[in-house]
Structures are given as structure tokens and as C-alpha cells.
Amino acid sequence: MKRSIDNFGTFFSVINILLAFIFLIFPIIVAIIMSFDGRSYLGLFPPPEYSLRWYERFFSDAYYLQGLKTSLIIAIIATVVSTTIGVSAAIGLDRYQGIGKQALESLFLSPLVVPAVVIGFALLMFFAALGIFDGFTRLLGGHLIITFPYTVRTTLAGLVGIRKSLTEAAMNLGATEGQAFWDVTFPLARTGIVAGSVFAFAFSMDDVAVSLFLTSPQTYTLPVAMISMMRTNFDLTIAAAAVILMTFTLCLIIILDWVIGLDKIIGKGVYRS
């Protein structure tokens, strides 16, 4: 009896894993296949013929290209700026020993828990009150505040692992505080910093909820371009755009694995006592 319940349990768990895997991967496969659809309209899946027409359409459409360009520029600037400020804030936090350390830390991480739509709406109103209507400035401001907490968090996580005694040893041996930082702390914290900037770039490229409020007719990001096309248009250029964005994600995952190793993000392997 016990045995049969267990066997049923194991069977059920294997089915659960398989179904979840199919559920997660199948829509992605459908989107990739549909992006190579040879028909000139959005028809039933699977397509009867294949071609590259939607990719040609994407790369000849100024609307999408403009969005991709803005997305990349904003993501790069936001990543560089928020990594710089975030790393500096994380190091400051790590050294800070006064009262309110915990409060300061949760303050820096708080944009993570404020819903993105609220951030977008609040920034829209704020920039309007200041008289700033330039799409680029507004988008950059929005992307800075949503990427900043990720860089603080991962850098902080990297710094916590570094023992203070290493810096102290370097200073005992005659290094100045600056030298000790650049030669000891910084190289050890590098993985955390790189991971933070990868996260920042990914979330900047991903954002819709904040950007939708802050775009102007001339300056918009690729996801915003895609969502407005999704509502009015029924062609598969969006699928081609989606596959292009997916390759970006894939590159980021590969970089992340190369820099820190994916299993380290979760913690290493089996239980060790």
C-alpha cells in the first residue's frame, strides 16, 4: 500500500516536471517558428511554408529600428551610470557602521518593491511638474531608478563575502586605503559588480511598465514599439522582434554563466553539513 502510494507519487512528480517544462518551452518554440512564417498574414500555427520575410520587414522598418536603437542606448547609459553609482553606494554601505545602516540598505533596495507602474506614473507627473518633456531624459531617469537597486544588491552580496582582514592586512603591509581598495577589494568584488550590470542591462531592455509613461512620439524603446504594434497590427514582424530580443537574453545568460557560473547564483550543489 505504502509502496503503491510512493510509486504514484514519483510518477506524478515526473509528469509534473515534464508538463511544466513543456509549458515553459513550448510558447517560445511557437514564437520562433512563427517568426519564420512564409505567409503574408498571421495564420494558423504551424505555418505551411517558411521564409525570412518578417526579419527583412523588421530590418527595413524605421519604426522598429529607431526603437531598438533607443533601447540599446538607454540600456547602455543606464547600466554604466547605475553600476557606477550602485557600486559606490554598496561600498559606502559596506563600510558604514553608524546607526540606520539597515534602514539605508532597505531604502536603496526599495525601488524593487514599488510597483513599476507607480514609478512610471510618478515620474511622468514629476517631470511634467519640472517642465521636462524630452523623451530621452525621462526614459533615462526611469531606467536609472529601476536598474539601480540590482547593482547595489549584487555588489553588496559580493562585498559581504570579502573578509575585512584582507584589506586590513594590505594596509598593515603599507598600502594606502585607496591602494587596498583597488588591489584587494575591487578584484574580489568584480563578479558581483559584473552580475549587477548584467541584471541592470537585462531589466532596462525588458521594461515596459515604466517606459510606456515616459516615451515621447520621437523617443520610444523597442518593447514600447512592439506593444503599440501588438494592439493595432496583426503581422508577424513582432515575432521577429521577439526572436531578436530573445537572442539578447541568451547572450546575457551566457555572459552570466561565464562570469560567475550559473550554479553559484543558487548555491552549490547537494547539502553539506
Binding site: P27, A209, A239
Partner: protein, 283 residues
């Protein structure tokens, strides 16, 4: 002394960024939400009188419905993703083959990182009218054009995001539990299922609660999924804020909804996390 100064120097840019781009805008909408609505301009007039009208207007059945919908979807989706996610996390955490672990974790991280819009569009193609809408709605015996099917698609869209995240969160928790405990129970005659239900799951409760919290906050602030997959039939609070901006341009009212949404999501986080830390802090 100099050390203190340089520490503050390091902290200052972050604090300034934070004050300008988060504190000031939210204070601004808090003020805005208390102003009288004047049609035809972004933001209330500077000297508009203070009023509670924007809030009292929201004490209405129609608006509670948005809040109710958001929570109904959020809680259902979070619970489903925990039930599905826990066994998956367990088998990955206890997996001996390094290659398999690496592939599984890589796959899940990829799924988590997947661009929101790509995800939503892929779901749309797969479960929309040109995909398997007829097939899926046939299984559940509902109309592919009805509200029931739209609700189902919105749930699937949210699950596609929350399942990888809950699995990844739970892997860490399960790894920290000594497998000997479950083995001991099994040696003493407990069945595998029973030993997991009596030992593994209770030990994981703090991790399960924090995975639930993460899923729930993600669902409560979901915007693109209900916007695209909900097709106007399923609307969350976030969509209400956007509608205040894009359709009727009532900014004071939008601010009031935004403030309410902020308070609600922060309270959810506060309540659950203080519950976790009050019961499991002495670890």
C-alpha cells in the same frame, strides 16, 4: 574622521539619485492625489484646492472589484506555482549529476530573464485564436471567446513568469535542509510521500512563504500580462492607473490609485515578511 567622510562621499550619489527619482516623484503624486481635478492639463493647477474627493470616489464597488481581481489572480497564481514548483525544486536540489543541475538552473534563469513582452507575445501566439485556443478551451469545455478563457490565459501568462522564480527560490531553501532527516524517517518506516509532507515541507515553510511573497508581489504589480492577454476583459489595478493616464487624462485620480496601489503592495510585503521573521527568526 576622514574615513567617515569618504564613506558619506560614496553614499551621496546613490542617496541623491534615490531622492530625485523616487522620493520626490512619489511625494509629488501624494500631493497631486489630494488636489481637485481640473480637466485638460497634466497635473492639477498649482493653487488647486485640497480635497479628499479622489479617494472617496474610489470607495465604490466598481473599484474594489479591480483590487479584488488583482488579489484573486495573484493568490491563485502564487499558490499554483508553489504546488507545481516545490517538487521540481526538490528534484533539482537533490540531483547528483552536476551537468543536469547546471542545465536545469540555466534553463530556469533563462526563463526568468526572458523579456516580458516576448513572453506575452509567445503566449498570445500559442494560446490565441491562431494557436491552440480551440484545443485548450475544448479541454476545459469553455468558449475560446468567453471571459473564462481570457482569465485562463492571463493565469497561464503569470504562471509562465512565477513558476521559474518560485522554483529558483525554493532550490536554495531545500539545499539547506539535511537529507538525513528525511532518510531517518524513511528508515523508521515512513513512506516517502509522508516523510516529505511531515519533514521536508515543514522545514521549508519560511522559504515557501518567501517564494509566495515574491510571486504575489510580482502578480500584484503585473501590468503587461493583463494588458495584452486580458484584452480589456481582465484588468488589474496597474491597468487602472494607465487608463487614468492614457484614456481620460485624470491625473489626480490616477495619483490616488497609484498611492493606494503602493500602500497595498507595501503592506502585503510588510505583513508577510514580518510574519516570517517573527516566527522563524531564532534559527
Amino acid at each position: 574622521m576622514t574615513k567617515n567622510r569618504s564613506t558619506w562621499l560614496l553614499l551621496t550619489p546613490g542617496i541623491i539619485l534615490f531622492l530625485i527619482l523616487l522620493v520626490a516623484p512619489i511625494t509629488n503624486i501624494l500631493d497631486e492625489s489630494l488636489r481637485l481635478f481640473v480637466p485638460g492639463r497634466i497635473g492639477a493647477a498649482k493653487d488647486a484646492p485640497y480635497t479628499l474627493f479622489n479617494y472617496t470616489e474610489l470607495i465604490d464597488k466598481a473599484y474594489f472589484f479591480y483590487l479584488y481581481e488583482t488579489f484573486r489572480f495573484g493568490i491563485t497564481v502564487s499558490l499554483i506555482s508553489l504546488v507545481i514548483g516545490f517538487p521540481i525544486a526538490y528534484s533539482i536540489a537533490r540531483q547528483k549529476s552536476t551537468l543536469f543541475r547546471k542545465l536545469a538552473i540555466g534553463f530556469l534563469i533563462g526563463m526568468m530573464f526572458l523579456n516580458t513582452l516576448v513572453r506575452v507575445y509567445a503566449m498570445q501566439l500559442t494560446f490565441g485564436p491562431t494557436g491552440y485556443a480551440k484545443f485548450i478551451s475544448g479541454i476545459f469545455d469553455i468558449s475560446p471567446n468567453g471571459r473564462g478563457y481570457t482569465e485562463l490565459i492571463v493565469m497561464l501568462g503569470l504562471l509562465h513568469y512565477t513558476i521559474p522564480i518560485s522554483v529558483l527560490t525554493l532550490i536554495g531553501t531545500i539545499q539547506n535542509i539535511n537529507p538525513r532527516l528525511t532518510e531517518a524517517a524513511q528508515i523508521l518506516g515512513s513512506s516517502r510521500l509522508k516523510s516529505h509532507l511531515n519533514i521536508t515541507v515543514p522545514l521549508c515553510v519560511p522559504g515557501i512563504l518567501s517564494a509566495f511573497l515574491i510571486c504575489l508581489t510580482l502578480c500584484l504589480s503585473a501590468f503587461v500580462v493583463p494588458m495584452v492577454l486580458g484584452k480589456g476583459k481582465v484588468l488589474f489595478i496597474s491597468n487602472l492607473i494607465y487608463a487614468r493616464f492614457s484614456e481620460i487624462a485624470n491625473y489626480p485620480s490616477g495619483s490616488a490609485v497609484a498611492i493606494i496601489m503602493l500602500v497595498v503592495s507595501l503592506s502585503v510585503i510588510f505583513i508577510i515578511s514580518s510574519f516570517v521573521s517573527s516566527r522563524w527568526s531564532t534559527k
